[in-house]
């Protein structure tokens, strides 16, 4: 992997130069506590800049308006974006990764024509409607129902932990079309227009005051049959394409940003705390070292996965391992930050919109780390995937 990346040093220099010239140096100041509207506008502006430079859709095929970069180029690009501390394109995450990953494989031509160019125009924000309340550790046990009614499906149910649903025009929705089938069968996959009547959003108010996530209530929502993606009752398979569309690049970005977050914490740890005590006592040192070691391990785990993608190898449960490792680490890391800053951490700061998971407001970061764990396929789900597919342990008892 390294050799391939070394050959890309000129490309890396080019990206770095572009970022230095184009990333607004004051973006953090502008986005600290920014309004939702300002943040939407800023994300759209920054995505437009990236698109104009050819960096906005590096993994999209050229025929659909992307840069058609090699995977190695994508790695370099994501590394540089993270190292520059550029804003995360969180509003476009689903649209840029999950939408093409799903539609290019399962979508009709009409669906692709309708949505793919719109995504790259920056005008179309997407969200995901997979998770449901009380589904516990098993996505396949979802209960939202879709019933065929002429040339429509009528959907009733509830989704939760949907990121940025309040900004989204469309949603990738899973609903059960055959209630008699066993768990992962009888599920279908839809494109849901968020303007359809019968949709109600309830923001999930995090303890930090922010609400990145929503519950989505679906009450006799009518979806045209042409918005079905893939065959009826095969939605579980379609969803696998969605979930595997992101081949390690966003975790690369997160791991790279975490390294920077750690540098921030190290700097914090050198500052005397609110009680005038220097925080280089033995226990704090020990905890800092242990977190550092785990960040190093995360980085090589990510590289390992990227290497496997580069070589075209099957990933197996590697993505779950990396994701689980990251989630646990993010929680322990931010908790250490909160503990080092002590009483100061109780002050609630403005949220940095589009910032990393380690903003340096450690208590907020710690509280957010829980939401992160739940929203993106919980750690329990990852553990079960690893236990069953990786270790060959029997399925978890149904009740647990």
């Amino acid at each position: 992997m390294l050799e391939e990346l070394q050959r890309l040093e000129p490309f890396r220099a080019e990206v770095r130069g572009w970022l230095a010239a184009n990333l607004p140096s004051d973006w953090r100041r502008r986005m600290l506590g920014a309004s939702e509207a300002d943040h939407v506008a800023f994300q759209e502006w920054w995505f437009g800049k990236l698109m104009a430079a050819g960096y906005g859709a590096p993994h999209w095929p050229a025929e659909w308006g992307g840069s058609g970069f090699s995977f190695a180029q994508q790695i370099v690009l994501y590394e540089e974006i993270a190292r520059a501390g550029a804003p995360r394109l969180i509003h476009y995450f689903v649209a840029l990764h999950h939408v093409p990953g799903t539609l290019l494989h399962w979508g009709t031509h009409a669906q692709r024509e309708r949505h793919l160019p719109a995504v790259l125009s920056g005008k179309e924000i997407w969200c995901q409607g997979f998770s449901e309340p009380n589904a516990g550790s098993d996505l396949a046990s979802l209960r939202t129902r879709a019933v065929r009614d002429g040339d429509h499906y009528v959907v009733n149910g509830q989704k939760t932990w949907s990121s940025n649903a309040h900004h989204a025009q469309f949603c990738l929705l899973l609903a059960r079309t055959d209630p008699a089938a066993s768990k992962s069968r009888g599920i279908s996959y839809f494109i849901l227009d968020m303007k359809t009547p019968g949709i109600t959003l309830r923001p999930i108010k995090q303890m930090t005051g922010a609400s990145h996530f929503n519950e989505i209530f679906l009450d006799d929502v009518r979806i045209p049959a042409e918005n079905l993606v893939g065959p009826e009752n095969e939605g579980w398979k379609v969803a696998q394409s969605t979930l595997s569309s992101e081949r390690g690049l966003s975790i690369l970005e997160l791991a790279e940003r975490m390294k920077q977050g750690f540098a921030l914490l190290l700097a914090d740890a050198r500052v005397p705390g609110p009680d005038g005590v220097p925080y280089d006592d033995a226990e704090t040192r020990r905890r800092l070292v242990d977190i550092h070691v785990r960040i190093e391990a995360l980085r090589v785990l990510v590289n390992n996965q990227l290497g496997a993608v580069l070589r075209g190898e099957a990933l197996g449960v590697a993505p779950s391992i990396v994701k689980l490792y990251y989630s646990d680490l993010l929680r322990d890391f931010t908790r250490l930050g909160a503990s080092i800053r002590g009483i100061e951490s109780q002050h609630l700061e403005d949220v940095l919109m589009g910032g990393p998971n380690e903003t340096g407001y450690w208590m907020q970061d710690y509280l957010y780390s829980w939401a992160w764990t739940i929203s993106g396929g919980s750690s329990e789900i990852q553990r079960n995937i690893i236990a069953e597919r990786g270790l060959g342990l029997p399925r978890e008892p149904a009740a647990a």
């Binding site: 303890m207 705390g273 800053r341 109780q346 002050h347 609630l348 710690y366 939401a371 008892p397 009740a399």
Partner: protein
């Protein structure tokens, strides 16, 4: 050894519960409690509630009769505290008044101060705030920078205080000021919050619904007669005052209540009966909170017997804080939705305990104390 309450103590507990029944509004649990004890709503309500307690002889029963108390036994005082805490501490801001501000003024205050403030507190209608912490000084008295300079028969105060709960509604501030360059040149002033030059700014905080207050003092003139004790006597007075807090809040009540709430949620979701792991964790939490309860009782017993100070009160806090810490993790793991608008009472429990549970600095210090003093003592 004799565990259990006497009939008189049981009666007393019933009396307290009855007062709570009579004084709390019907929507107390639903509306008031989730707003947190430092909310304007609760602080304002405490004037009504504590006045009602005072009428029933339940606000300052542990005080000497000369100050309006009834010299009630320590165990009764403890029972009162347990019941208040279990009800969500409706005394709110005034918990401080009756537990240490009043007693401190009884001992160190001038006759005029006693007449005004001790009586005021016993009436249940006065709100105090505590001007201790400062930016970059935390709880270290030696690093305080808010100055008070004598100018005729007034002190002129300049500086600022942080984490000043209740400041938005307080009538008085129990203020620590610096009156000289030395480490111990700290002096206590009683400052009316409506004195010109005082401003209160509120910031959002994670530790509770509502706000953290900062109080700024700009050329605030405080009459010399508002000084408590002599100049430089603050260390002694504060140490004495804090001794009243030795037992601390009985955290096991709210902890066990929170645990019950999580378990109810898990049962409703069908995740309790078949999951031995979650039950084992809940069981360990019960064990920890019950330990804290027993150790707290032991400390009260020592106080009743006027035993010399031991580290047992620290032990009780260490155990309670460890339990709180585990309880917070338990909520976050097994009922995370409760922390995002799904259950205001659990969320409030979590927020309030963040300083104790997560930042935990105090906890480390307590444990060090225990080890320094508690080891090598004769046992058995």
């Amino acid at each position: 050894m004799e565990f259990g309450w006497t009939p008189e103590q049981e009666d007393y507990r019933r009396r307290v519960r009855q007062a709570l029944d009579e004084l709390l509004p019907e929507d107390w649990d639903e509306v008031y409690v989730p707003q947190s004890y430092a909310s304007d709503l609760q602080v304002d309500f405490s004037r009504e509630f504590c006045a009602g307690l005072a009428e029933r002889g339940l606000l300052v029963p542990h005080w000497p009769r000369e100050f309006g108390g009834s010299d009630s036994p320590d165990w009764n005082h403890f029972i009162l505290g347990e019941e208040m805490k279990a009800a969500g501490e409706p005394r709110g801001a005034q918990y401080m008044n009756v537990n240490w501000i009043g007693p401190t003024l009884m001992r160190y205050g001038t006759e005029a101060q006693k007449e005004r403030h001790v009586k005021g507190i016993a009436g249940g209608k006065v709100i105090w705030c505590q001007g201790f912490s400062e930016p970059n000084a935390g709880t270290d008295l030696a690093a305080l920078r808010t100055r008070a300079e004598l100018d005729g028969d007034h002190y002129v105060v300049n500086g600022s205080k942080i984490w000043t709960s209740y400041a938005r509604r307080a009538d008085w501030c129990f203020l620590l000021t610096r009156t000289g360059p030395g480490k111990k040149d700290i002096t206590i002033l009683l400052v009316p919050m409506d004195t010109p030059g005082i401003s209160v700014t509120s910031y959002p905080g994670v530790i509770k619904f509502g706000h953290l207050n900062e109080v700024y003092f700009t050329d605030v003139r405080v009459p010399v007669e508002n000084r408590v004790g002599a100049e430089g006597q603050a260390w002694e007075i504060v140490s004495h005052a804090l001794a009243f807090e030795r037992v601390g809040v009985p955290r096991y009540h709210t902890g066990l209540d929170a645990l019950d709430r999580v378990v109810e949620r898990l049962k409703a979701e069908g995740r309790w009966d078949d999951d031995p792991v979650v039950r084992a964790r809940a069981g360990r939490l019960v064990a920890q909170f019950e330990s804290a309860r027993m150790l707290t009782y032991l400390v009260v017993d020592q106080r009743v017997k006027r035993a010399p100070p031991s580290t047992d009160s620290n032990l009780a806090r260490v155990i309670a804080l460890a339990a709180v810490n585990e309880m917070m993790d338990f909520i976050a793991e097994y009922a995370p939705e409760a922390l995002t608008g799904g259950d205001l009472l659990l969320e409030d429990y979590y927020r309030i305990n963040i300083p104790a549970g997560i930042t935990g600095g105090t906890n480390e210090i307590q444990m060090d104390l225990v080890a320094q003093r508690g080891l090598g003592l004769p046992r058995g």
